[in-house]
Amino acid sequence: MSSIGTGYDLSVTTFSPDGRVFQIEYAGKAVDNSGTVVAIRCKDGVVMGVEKLIASKMMLPGSNRRIHAVHRHSGMAVAGLAADGRQIVTRAKSEATNYESTYGEPIPVKELAERVASYVHLCTLYWWLRPFGCGVILGGYDRDGPQLYMVEPSGVSYRYFGAAIGKGRQAAKTEIEKLKLSEMTCRQGVIEVAKIIYGVHDEAKDKAFELEMSWVCDESKRQHQKVPDDLLDEAKAAAKAALEEMDAD
C-alpha cells in the first residue's frame, strides 16, 4: 500500500490531501527494514526476542544490544535506527527514575508506555525535529501483572498479547497467533520466540544473525534480565531443530 507523496512528503508538518503525514510513514519504513523483534505476553511474564542482523564478522558477539533495561521491572526492545532507539531508551529510563523518585513506587508499565509514546509523538509535531526512525516494544511486570506495549514512530501505543516489528513481522504475527499464550509459561515462551525468529529469518537475503532475548517473569523475580545462558542455548537448539524438521518436509 505504498504511494508516492510528491510534494506533500517534505515536512512532517504537512498533511497530504488524503489526510496522511508521509514523513511519519517513511519513518515507519525504517522500522520495517530492520531485523525482526518479537515479543509475547505469557501467563507469568513477558518474553522479548530480537533477530540481530550482523553487519560484519568483525563484530563481537553480545555487543550492539538491542534490548535494554528501562527499570528493574521493565525492558525495551528496539527496531529501526539504533541511534534513535538509544534516545528513546534514555528518555524512558529517565521517566522511570523520575516517577519512582516522586511517587515512591516503580512506574506502572501503562504510565511508562504513555510517556514514551508521548515523547515519540512530540517529535512528529515540529518541522525542526524529525520523527524517530524506530519502533519500540516495551515489556514490564507491575502490580497489574505482566504487560506488553508497542510504540510506533507515529507516537501511537497499544497494549498487546503478542507483537512483532521489522522485516519478518507478518510471518511472525501469524506464528504468534497460533500460540496459546494464556496457558504458556515464560520458560516455554522463550523456546517459542526463538523458533519464530529462526523461522522468519531469511537465509537468502541476510546472512548471519544473533539471537538476543530477555524476559520479565515470576521466575526472574519480576526483574527484567537477559534470558539465562542455559535456557537461551536450549531455545536456540530447539529452534534449529524445528527448522531442520521443516526443511526435511
Binding site: R65, H68, A69, V70, H71, R72, T97, S101, Q225
Partner: protein, 243 residues
C-alpha cells in the same frame, strides 16, 4: 535538589542560611566495622535521637548497596535517606547495563567521598559519618567517609563515639582472619561499652555481615548489661535527701 549559585554562598545572612544545613536534627550514633576472615562485619544500634531525647528506636542504620557492599551511617538520618536514594539510583543504572559488571565497595566508597566533599565545599554538608564495607572477587574492603569528605580505609573503623571507645578495644584485640563468632563477640564488646558510656546509644542493635556469597543483616536484638555494681547500690548513702 538544586543548590546555591556561587554568588549565594555566604556564611552570614539569614536568607541563604535557610538554604543549607546548619545543624542536625535526628541523629544516629556510632557505627563500628571490622574485617574478618570471610568478609566484613558492621554493627550499629537502632536509635534516632532528637537532641537529647532518644526518640526513634527502630531506625535501620545499616543498608545494603548493590551486591557487594554494605553502608552504615551515623549523623543526620534524613541526610542518610538522601544518600541512600542516590546510591539506589547509582546501583539501578549500574544493573541496567546488564553486562556482568557491578560496582564494588571501592567504587561506592569513592562515589560517597565525592558526594560528601562536594557538598562540604558548597557549605551545605550531608551531616553524616559513613562506614562502607564490602567484598568483591575475594578482596575485602572497609572504609569510612566523614561529613567533610575525609576518607580512609582500615582493618577496623568506627564513627563518632566509636572512635574514642571502640577503636582502642579493636586496636588491642583485632587480628587478621578472625572467625565470624570471634568477630561478633568483639563487636558486641565494643557495642556494650558504647551502650554504657554513650548517652545516645540504645540497647537494640543490628549486625551486618557481608561475604563473597552475599549480605545478611541480623534481626534487631539487645545486649545483656550488668548494673549491680556495689558502687551503684544505695547511691544516696553519703548524701541523704539527694537523688
Amino acid at each position: 535538589v538544586t543548590n546555591s549559585a556561587p554568588s549565594m554562598i555566604n556564611l552570614i545572612g539569614s536568607e541563604s542560611d535557610s538554604q543549607r544545613t546548619l545543624y542536625p536534627y535526628v541523629t544516629g550514633t556510632s557505627v563500628v566495622g571490622i574485617k574478618y576472615k570471610d568478609g566484613i562485619l558492621l554493627a550499629a544500634d537502632m536509635g534516632g535521637s532528637y537532641g537529647s531525647t532518644l526518640r526513634y528506636k527502630t531506625v535501620e542504620r545499616l543498608k545494603t548497596v548493590g551486591k557487594h557492599s554494605i553502608i552504615g551511617a551515623s549523623g543526620e538520618i534524613s541526610d542518610f535517606q538522601e544518600i541512600m536514594r542516590n546510591l539506589d539510583e547509582l546501583i539501578l543504572y549500574d544493573n541496567m547495563w546488564d553486562d556482568g559488571n557491578s560496582l564494588g565497595p571501592k567504587e561506592v566508597h569513592n562515589y560517597l567521598t565525592r558526594m560528601m566533599y562536594n557538598r562540604r565545599n558548597k557549605f551545605n554538608p550531608l551531616w553524616n559519618s559513613l562506614v562502607l564495607g564490602g567484598v568483591k572477587n575475594g578482596q575485602k574492603y572497609l572504609g569510612t567517609v566523614s561529613m567533610i569528605g575525609v576518607h580512609y580505609e582500615d582493618n577496623h573503623v568506627a564513627t563518632g563515639f566509636g572512635n574514642h571507645l571502640a577503636r582502642p578495644l579493636l586496636r588491642d584485640e583485632w587480628h587478621a582472619d578472625m572467625t565470624f563468632e570471634e568477630g561478633v563477640k568483639l563487636l558486641e564488646k565494643c557495642m556494650r561499652v558504647l551502650l554504657y558510656r554513650d548517652r545516645s546509644a540504645v540497647n537494640k542493635l543490628q549486625i551486618a555481615k557481608i561475604t563473597e556469597e552475599g549480605v545478611t543483616i541480623s534481626q534487631p536484638y539487645a545486649l545483656k548489661t550488668f548494673w549491680n555494681f556495689s558502687a551503684f547500690q544505695n547511691p544516696t548513702a553519703g548524701a541523704e535527701g539527694s537523688w
